[in-house]
Symmetry: C2
Subunit: 158 residues, 2 copies
Amino acid sequence: MRMSEGAEWGLHCCVTLGWLADEAPVSIRRLAAWFDLPQEYLKKRLQSLSRAGILASSPGALGGWSLARSPEKITVMEVVAAMEGGLELFHCTEVRQRGVGGQGAGAEFVRPCGISAVMRRAELAWRQELAAHTIADLMARSPKGAERTHRNYRRMTG
Amino acid sequence: MRMSEGAEWGLHCCVTLGWLADEAPVSIRRLAAWFDLPQEYLKKRLQSLSRAGILASSPGALGGWSLARSPEKITVMEVVAAMEGGLELFHCTEVRQRGVGGQGAGAEFVRPCGISAVMRRAELAWRQELAAHTIADLMARSPKGAERTHRNYRRMTG
DNA sequence: GTATGCTTACTCGGATACCACTTGTCCGAGTTCCATGGG
DNA sequence: CCCATGGAACTCGGACAAGTGGTATCCGAGTAAGCATAC
C-alpha cells in the first residue's frame, strides 16, 4: 500500500509550472530533463492531470503544458486523486456477510460495519489534510533559490 | 493505491477472537469457514499478526489463534501496520535533487521539501485516527446479535 | 497404574503460480509554428 | 508582398513489455493432545 511515484512527479511538475506560468506552455522535454524522469512515462502521467482539468496542454510546435487554473485553486488532494484514480484507500468487501456468519441474519447488516466506519474516518482526515494545501502553498514554502534556478535553466536550453 | 484485503480480514478476525476469548484458541478452519475466506491464505496473513505480537498461536492438536493482548490494548493502527508492512503511504524519492534541478545547489536541499511535509502531515492524521480506535471499540460497536451468532456456530461445528 | 509410543490435528515456514497494477517504451495520428517557394 | 506547401516540434491515444506486490495454493517440518499399548 504505497502511493505511486507518479503522484510525487505530478506535484513537482505543478509547482514548476506555477513558477513558469509566464513562460507557458512548457514542453515535456524540459520538465523531464529538469527532474531526470523518463520523458514518455511522465507525459502519460501528466495526461491524467490534463483529463482532470488540473493541467492544460497545447499541441503544436511551441506546445507544452501549463496550469489550467491559478495555483491557489489547485489543492494537493486534487492532484493526488487524479494520479491515483480517485479510489478510496480502504474498500469494504463486506466480509462479514459472506460465509456462515452472514447467513440468515438480516438486522445486523443494515448499518455499515464498525471497521468500515473507522477506516472512512481515518481516510477523511487524510483527505482533509491534503485538501487544505494548494500548489500556491507549496510554491511559497520552497526555498528562494528554486524559482530562479528554474529560469536559469531555461536560458541553458533555450 | 488501495489497502490490501488482508487488513480487513485481520480486523474482522481480531474482533471475532475478542468475542471468543474464553474459547481460545480458535482454529484457522473455523475462522475461514465463518467468513468464507481461503483458509491457507488467511493463515498466512494471521502469521503476520502473530509476528507483530498482536495474535498468539498455539500449535498442537487443540491449537489455534487468540489475541495476544486484551482488546483494549490493540489499536486498529497496529493491525493495519502489521498487515501492510508498516510502510509509509508516501515515500519521498527526492525527485527535486535529481536531474538538472539538483545540480550544484546545496542550501536549498537541507530542509525536506514542502511536498514531503504535506504528505507526512496528512499521513499522520490518518494514523492518529486509526490509533484512536481499538479492537474493543469495534466489538462494542457491533450489533448485539453478532457475538451470540458466533457462539452458536461453535455448537454447529463442534 | 504408569510410562512409552502412535495417531491426529493443528501451526510454521518456504516454494510456487497467478493476477492486477505500476512503471516504462514505442508508434501512428493530429495540431501548430515556421521556413520556403511560387504567384 | 501575400499565400500555399512542407517540415519540424509538440501532444494525444493506444498497444505492449517488464517489474512489483497482493492473492492463492501446496508441501514438509514441528508441536501438542488424545489414545493405545506395554510394563
